[in-house]
Symmetry: C2
Subunit: 330 residues, 2 copies
């Protein structure tokens, strides 16, 4: 097994949490020991939780010393690992999809931690060009760590794309749920697990966008009730009047915007678009990515079908609760 | 990383070749060294090619001694490795989805090889219950190798299912190719790479089954021309007369059977069924598994849709040439 294999494991692990990490990038990290044995495969899961490198260091140390009891809060974890690593990760290699951060954000800088742990080598996919976090590779090199940059760069840049778009303004994606045969309807299509996952993604979006047709036929809540998460603000794109009795208006701590235009209001950065065939036709040129779920069912009851000419490229394929899902781009 | 992780890698690798290994089972093998570093992830790819264990031993030795030049023929490879392993795999662990074989088939017994290489431990998924190949675990134990049996048994048994059904009579699967939106038509749906893969699978089937409707509307060759492989015999299930001018009759070294019944003739063991909505409706109760390809396209041109009530369970999800494919069961 080689660098490509280990970094690919990190990329794959990071994609599992794509859509959940806003405003942070989806990042994966694999640690191997001096003999090349994998000690950890980890990813950043959510804002406020440990960065991928810290998650991986925890998993690796836990494997090497099962008696260690780690604090769960990210800053305490960083501090604990700094003091209790016992050189167990000396001469290890870190494979990270993104350059380790150099700054004190919600958590302290990962580059410092990796240097402190005595890693021999760090293989980096994308370089971090953000003003506040860049420079991690420099810190590592100064500490005498061997650094390789730009490894599997295209794959890592693709993984990083939503983060880059947030920096520039906003990232938007169209979420679609279909049966295996392409049908959908107003009822539930995907499994409970897949819907929980969708609500987790919704809960970190700041805006959810639907068309007037979905509002009138589905009357959805568009909240994150399955995980008791925060509902994003809602934007209804319609030329018609909207009844204020609709469910979408009766969710706490959420604004509802109604407009006769398809432009996303500028104050929102992480935008989920939901809908069926008509809204996909209207929005397919505007969104950056597509998140498409497929259940494993065929159904003669499913009367609605998507009608659009659209050629996509599959970026990552996942599986949750007997549903497959893919992140696609044009 | 633990036994579950390593054996899962082996299972996943084996699934990539499901459908291609007839009459042999799809088997995967991972080798780790005494420190737990992965030395090889391999699978049995095709009848006559090395078994998974032999493929893995070759890959592992090649990694440890890049100067070794291996013969490609399976028996010569077995012999070469027996003489040139130089104890490089001493104290390694083998993870195999199926008990290593104990018999001389087209290739010599894998259990003997693993013992000879000085493996410390072998973790086995399914036990081999076939009369001719069983007993590998016994050989290993007698040689002092630590053996764990029945690890991730359910997953490994599922992987092995086609092989078990061949022993009992026949294994059949329905192959379907759809766009992302569930549409299909008489033209080409999937990528060249996906079609090459399908022809590789066809070339090891002994029978391909279609309905009269497919014959009349598609007039398919049903051969394996994309890989210059052997075309399977063809069975056309129809109550109507069939024109002998159809393409299916003009493929070398193939029999064409026509019958007004859906029963598979008993002399065939590895049976691929192809068709659209109507034939899937007719055949869904008769076939053992489903192999469904999805391209990444939506198309308004695709006028045909599958209409059936069918709930499936996804067993393995793969990706080839921007098409995803899944093996499903009911």
């Amino acid at each position: 097994m080689n660098d490509r294999f280990y970094l690919s494991l990190a990329i794959n692990e990071a994609w599992k949490y794509q859509g959940l990490t806003y405003p942070n990038p989806a990042v994966g990290c694999v640690i191997t020991d001096k003999n090349g044995a994998i000690l950890a495969i980890a990813a950043h899961k959510k804002r406020g939780l440990p960065h991928a490198e810290l998650e991986a260091a925890k998993a690796a140390l836990s494997k090497l010393n099962p008696l260690l009891i780690f604090p769960s809060e990210a800053n305490e974890l960083y501090d604990f690992i700094s003091k209790n690593h016992n050189n167990l990760l000396k001469n290890s290699t870190f494979y990270v999809t993104l350059e380790p951060c150099s700054h004190q954000g919600l958590t302290p800088p990962c580059a410092m931690l990796i240097a402190l742990l005595g890693a021999k080598r760090v293989v980096i996919g994308s370089l971090d060009k953000s003003e506040k976090a860049k420079g991690g590779a420099q810190i590592l090199k100064k500490a005498g760590v061997e650094v390789e940059e730009g490894f599997l760069k295209d794959e890592c840049d693709e993984l990083l794309k939503p983060f880059l778009l947030w920096q520039e303004g906003s990232f938007s994606f169209f979420k679609l749920a279909l049966r295996l045969d392409g049908t959908y309807d107003n009822g539930i299509i995907t499994s409970h697990e897949a819907r929980v996952f969708t609500h987790e993604i919704r809960s970190v979006c700041d805006l959810i966008v639907i068309g007037g047709e979905t509002l009138r036929t589905d009357n959805p809540l568009l909240d994150a009730r399955l995980i008791e998460g925060k509902a994003p603000d809602a934007l209804i794109c319609t030329a018609k009047d909207v009844e204020k009795t609709a469910n979408v208006f009766h969710v706490k701590n959420r604004k509802v915007l109604i407009q006769n235009s398809l432009d996303f209001p500028k104050q929102y950065k992480n935008i989920m678009v939901e809908g069926g065939s008509n809204f996909l036709n209207v929005m397919s040129e505007k969104v950056d990515r597509f998140l498409i779920f497929h259940s494993c069912d065929f159904s003669q009851e499913g009367s609605k079908r998507v009608e659009i000419d659209l050629k996509l490229k599959l970026l990552y394929q996942g599986f949750i609760g007997n549903c497959s899902f893919g992140w696609y781009r044009k």
